[in-house]
Amino acid sequence: MELLLAITVGALYAAGFYMILRRSLVKLIIGLALLSHAANLFLFTVGGLTRAGVPLLDGVEPATTFADPLPQALILTAIVIGFGVQAFAIVLLRWVYQTTGTDDVNQLQTTDIGS
């Protein structure tokens, strides 16, 4: 299971970085989304996977094997933050497209060259 998740995380990171390096703004957003998914899944995998032992307490006795709830809480927080940030990024992208009339990142150079 760890191996499968590790490969998935690697693929997500690779795809995310690749998409960020593309010239289209839409692909940039997709890349950022993939990258945040990769980070969340990485956090999940690296936090330790435990199967079939979910609750902390088994009846009244503490369970012998249980999943660590903290990484999941962290991921939940990170997902919510990522959701908000991506929603903003999509609005920003639309705004940029409306104002500049292009979705090619290479065209967005006027601030670097100077007025």
Binding site: F42, L43, L74, T77, A89, T100
Partner: protein
């Protein structure tokens, strides 16, 4: 008195919420914002006073004992940063009352500024690595909106780059948090420090350390990772640039210092060498980039990078004097850099441009403005007796004592180049005869409300002069801070012991 730690977080939070409630009534929103800013500044300064007299203050808001719950810690470093941050925050707030146009103020400038300040003080005061991530995000999302607020073409172009690279840095930060939790099993900074002390230094935690270095390096805009900064910082209105320039990169420096003093102390390992090289290259590239620019705000943006190099230099040398120099430099830099952007905002208001080719004759028309510029500009370059001189003097002295001559030479050369670029701005904008074709048409419209833009700028300038003439108390404070940073045991005992 433990509630005092909470005050610099609660004040901007409540203010932002109240500002949102008063969305329709601009005068009420401004009044709430100003009042909240004053309360915020007072509470942060009071916290600094308290920490300086009584030692580290720790609070567990959820009442869970230390390594399990959320921890807020104010040691001297946190408190100094929070206090200086709140002072420049208030200055920018006063400046923005007339310095930011109505449209942007109605579009939510005040609540956004307060959430930004909330994120900044939260980052300084948290005692938990994951909470630091959350506060970073609070700070970033409000800065994203502030950068793009108004929606001018240049702003949006800058915002895309700013957002992309900062999100990348956050993803890396999160990954490092994951690695640390999986190998060490805690995220409380004090607990991490204890357990990392026992851990194998060459294993997975050190990988996490390097990832954190890159993540905070992007935020702090150090040498190979700074490209988002000159692409975006000059695009929004001056008040917004000023608060970003003054505070955001410095939060990166703060986080880096915290991690490399508490979690991974820099004692002669390869990270130290890496940081020293980074510091030198950051200083040099920043100042050379600035020399090639022809717009006041772009020059200033590049100078932020070069100044970050000095702070990293202080951190990298890791002696008591060097760290004291870093803290001194941080305080000096936050005040001076914010002020320079505010002055650039006044120039923009008077002349309608910050382009050096189109400016000129400001000394003849507005001699007071010239002096307002000269004080922070000379301080930035490090001329005695202003604050920048002492900051650079302490760092250079620390470098000579540590026998790191190369970095000292770089620092001094960069300082000369800084002076060159400040005199260039002076000569072009203030001294030379203005180009004939566009003599100011915006003057009449511009002078309205100018007083409230000048007051905070003059206040920050007098603070610079005050630090320069009375450097001793601040140096005492900086040394105490450095000693606390070099002795992580105090921090650990305060968090884990007394809870």
């Amino acid at each position: 008195m433990k509630l005092l730690v909470l005050a610099p977080i609660l004040a901007p939070l409540i203010t932002a919420a109240l500002c949102l409630l008063a969305w329709q009534r601009m005068w009420l929103q401004r009044a709430i914002s100003l009042l909240g800013g004053v309360v915020f500044t007072c509470s942060s300064v009071a916290l600094l006073g308290y920490v300086y007299s009584y030692g580290i203050v720790v609070m567990q808001p959820g009442n869970w004992p230390a390594p399990f719950g959320i921890t807020l810690v104010a040691d001297l470093f946190s408190a100094v940063m929070a206090a200086v941050g709140s002072i420049v925050g208030l200055a920018v707030l006063i400046f923005s009352l007339t310095g930011v146009d109505q449209q942007r103020q109605q579009g939510g400038f005040h609540p956004l500024l307060h959430t930004l300040l909330l994120g900044v003080s939260g980052s300084f005061l948290t005692g938990d690595l994951f909470n630091l991530y959350v506060w970073f995000e609070v700070m970033l999302i409000s800065s994203f909106v502030l950068v793009s607020l108004g929606g001018e073409k240049a702003q949006l172009e800058g915002a895309i780059k700013y957002v992309t690279l900062n999100l990348l840095s956050s993803a890396l930060f999160l990954a490092a948090v994951g690695v640390l939790y999986s190998t060490v099993g805690t995220l409380n900074l004090a607990d991490l420090a204890v357990r990392l002390g026992d851990a194998d230094p060459s294993g997975a935690p050190s990988v996490a350390g390097r990832i954190l270095l890159i993540a905070f390096g992007i935020k702090a805009a150090v040498f190979p990772l700074f490209f988002w900064l000159p692409a975006s910082y000059h695009t929004p209105p001056a008040a917004i640039s000023a608060v970003l320039a003054g505070l955001l990169t410095k939060v990166g420096v703060y986080a880096m210092t915290r991690v490399f003093s508490l979690l991974f102390p820099l004692e002669g390992d390869s990270t130290q060498t890496l940081l020293l090289w980074t510091a030198g290259l950051t200083m040099a590239t920043g100042v050379l980039g600035a020399a090639a620019q022809n717009d006041i705000r772009r020059v200033l943006s590049f100078h932020i990078i070069s100044q970050i190099g000095y702070m990293i230099m202080g951190l990298a040398m890791y002696t008591p004097l060097a760290l004291a120099g870093m803290v001194f430099y941080l305080v000096h830099h936050i005040v001076v850099k914010t002020n320079l952007f505010l002055v650039a905002g006044i120039v923009q208001r008077l002349r309608g441009t910050c382009d050096l080719d189109r400016l000129g004759g400001l000394y003849r028309d507005k001699a007071w403005l010239a002096f307002l510029f000269l004080i922070p500009a000379f301080s930035l370059a490090g001329l005695p007796p202003l604050s920048g001189f002492w900051a650079k003097f302490i760092l250079a002295r620390a470098g000579l004592e540590a026998e790191r001559y190369l970095i000292v030479a770089v620092a001094l050369a960069v300082s000369l180049l800084t002076l060159f670029s400040m005199t260039k701005v002076w000569a072009e904008a203030f001294w030379k005869v203005p180009p004939a074709q566009d003599t100011p048409a915006t003057e009449i419209e511009g002078s309205e409300g100018l007083r409230w833009m000048v007051v905070p700028s003059a206040a920050l300038a007098s603070l610079t002069v005050a630090i320069g003439f009375a450097a001793e108390p601040l140096f005492e404070l900086a040394s105490a801070t450095a000693n606390q940073l070099l002795d992580p045991k105090q921090y650990i005992d305060a968090v884990l012991g007394g809870a």
